[in-house]
Amino acid sequence: MGPNLRKFHGLQAMAHQPQTDAARKVLLPGGLLQFVPRLMVGVGLAAISLLSQQSRQGVMPAPGQLSTIHLVSPVPNGNWTLPAGDYANTRYSPLNQINTKDVSHLRVIATFSDGIPHGQEGQPLVVHNTLYMVTPFPNNLIALDLTKPGFPLKWIYQPHPNRQAVARACCDTVNRGASYSHGLVVYCTLDDHVVAVNANTGKLAWSTRVGNIYRGETITMAPLVVHGIVIAGDSGGEFGVHGKITALALKTGKVLWRAFSTGSDKQVRIGQNFHAYYAKDQGKNLGKTSWPADAWKIGGGTVWGWISYDPELNLIFYGTGNPSPWDQQMRPGSNHWTCSIFARNPETGYAKWAYQMVPHDAWDYDEIMENIAIDMRWHGRMRKLLLHPARNGFMFVMDRRNGQVLSAQKFVSSVNWASAYNLKTGRPVVNTLKVAPQGKFAQGICPSSTGGKEFVPSAFSPVTGYLYIPAHNTCMNRKESEASYIAGTPYLGSSTAMYPGPGGYQGELIAWDVRHARPVWSIKDKLLPVYSGVLATGGNLVFYGTLEGWFRAVNARTGQVLWQFKTGSGIIGDPITFLGPHGKQYVAIYSGIGGWMGAVAQPSFSTDDPYAGLGAAGAMTAIKKISEPGDTLYIFAL
């Protein structure tokens, strides 16, 4: 990949004049874009936000931004080209045409149904007046033309993935979206292909298989493109796969490097420059020595969540999933590097640091949650922070240069698997009563395996300094038993049944004051967990959806619900905002219930078995009377 693109980035760093010209200058030498944007007029900052992401000279502050906060990568200001909008994963857009004053006039402009009765996670992309949506399996890529009334279909790309992949997707046949770069829309299919599609024509540019469904490997995550490198993870932590991330060249689809989550240092790509902050994470070949003989080969540690990137440090950050099998007694040891956070160089793949958040996980606390990179004043001085609202119910604030944990506070009050984190050793203080033994139920473990928060991403507003966390309050009883590894079938060894946690609510949108490590306000959902992503905007608004199907706009400071709209099905997607033609602001959200907990709404589940759906059915008995599956994209505007 190298030289060509490097030159290209150099050019880009110099190009600081406004958008369109800069775009052409940059695009033509790179020769990567086969099209010239048809309608660049009035797109505002669209192109520059897309193309100046690699600029190392700092980022323009967003209007109204707190002086104590510094943004690391440009926030999406018109287009939405990356899964989270920006590299830092803030999911914040400074657009403010829709704001606290006029949000009550928000109305539906267009809808688009893909006809699939499975969960629609993730978010669409918007680039140059085209909206791209990736559907759940069969993973079609649909392009909508935003320049025409009603936003009609422009083209549809159908990858026809292998149908056998369906039964190997642990938690519904979802897909969490695509990334756009240099004229290509890149996403992953359930049957382990990374595909790049020409954003203009809808023709396949390349397709590379990076896994094997017959070993239980699937992909549901949204890849990230950094410096012309596509970084894709995998799923299958419930099938005993060998978790990994794969880097491919954006131009050709050739595999550049692979980094496994378990195994020898070579396999994990831990080299000379690696330095873990805590003693517990230091040592040679921990990915192998912290497992019983050969167990690491089927030890999970999948990467199915969000990848973020800090252009200033040139590091990607991502978390790894649960160890396999769920039965903890079968895998004595700390089980590195499952439930960990990695910082890697995107070009070489070598790790800079890593931190295992949950040593010897016994609860399925995948730590694949979003890692939000911001610079912020922390106890008197500016620090490079990584915010990680963890599945295990703790809100982590870390130093992203070295992986030091600065603060770990419970954001869900019922959390009881551990009482606190020891910031000196980096270890949780585990309540051993909540570690299920074989053959006997450990009762009242909070949070349940679906976590204090699922993969659904939170949003950080640099204007309020709050992190908006879509949280769960679910507990479980769990019993473990020996599991047989049979390639391509679940490798669990656990009976899990979940139920709503204490306090009479199961879901909560929490506004978390990062600096003071405390909640500011929250909106509780009595019956159901909050299972949608969050969007924060410069209009002082926070958007999110509920499993009931309500799409809401909330005052970012007070938590007052200012507007809501009932969509056709439960919402598990992530809202985005963008500028359409003529510079008008839109908000888009997927409606379509599914995902681990939401899938219980689908007809293929029976709620009289609380152990159904890997234990989620017990907590979701209400859903059958509330929502039916079926995916629709909703686009709103004033």
Binding site: R163, Q164, A165, V166, A167, R168, A169, C170, I213, E238, K410, S413, S414, V415, N416, A418, S419, N431, Q443, G444, C446, C475, M476, N477, S481, A483, S484, I486, G488, T489, P490, Y491, L492, S495, T496, A497, M498, Y499, G501, P502, S604, F605, S606, T607, D608, D609, P610, Y611, A612, G613, L614, G615, A617, G618
Partner: protein, 180 residues
């Protein structure tokens, strides 16, 4: 006195005879139980003349006015031991991983409903397990012995009936106080 003694003796004699009879009856009962145990069927489906399972039609049979294709019955029908073993195999072979701890569904569809995409007769379920299905159901027939598949079928057919072994119970919800 002598009479008294002899009475006493005959009394104990009667008691002894009674107890002997009782012992005999218990022995006979035990023998009967043993024999009942011996009578337990050792079924070998293949040797029972059941048609090869691959001929089980999933769709309508052309040229026949009603769907009266002969379907092999489960050779373990009514066998409580096989039902228990079916439940064990359901967990052991990771069926529970996809279809839910008690068949309520997950990655694979619920088996607790009356609706089965490929037919809900015992033979159809056998065929689905044995041959696998298009959305990722593995073809277990190449691995799992026929008898064990029939035991699994027996268990699946028992779901939501009073015969279901180890039926699901809603989890006990203990009072939870957050750890200090």
């Amino acid at each position: 006195m002598a009479a008294n003694q002899s009475n006493h003796a005959s009394g104990t004699g009667q008691a002894m005879r009674k107890s002997r009879r009782a012992a005999g009856m218990i022995g006979a009962a035990a023998l009967f139980l043993l024999a009942a145990g011996c009578h337990k069927k050792h079924v070998h489906a293949a040797s029972m003349g059941a048609p090869p399972v691959s001929t089980i039609p999933v769709g309508p049979v052309p040229g026949s006015p009603h769907n009266s294709w002969p379907m092999p019955a489960n050779p373990y029908q009514g066998n409580a031991m096989a039902l228990m073993q079916g439940r064990q195999l359901f967990v052991q072979f990771n069926c529970s991983g996809c279809h839910g701890g008690h068949g309520g569904g997950g990655m694979g569809p619920s088996l607790r409903r009356r609706y089965f995409r490929y037919g809900h007769s015992s033979a159809h379920i056998y065929s689905s397990i044995s041959e696998g299905r298009g959305l990722g159901m593995p073809a277990w027939g190449t691995k799992v012995p026929q008898n064990d598949i029939w035991k699994l079928v027996l268990y699946i057919k028992s779901l939501r009936t009073p015969q279901e072994p180890d039926p699901p119970r809603m989890p006990k919800q203990p009072l939870i106080a957050p750890a200090k």
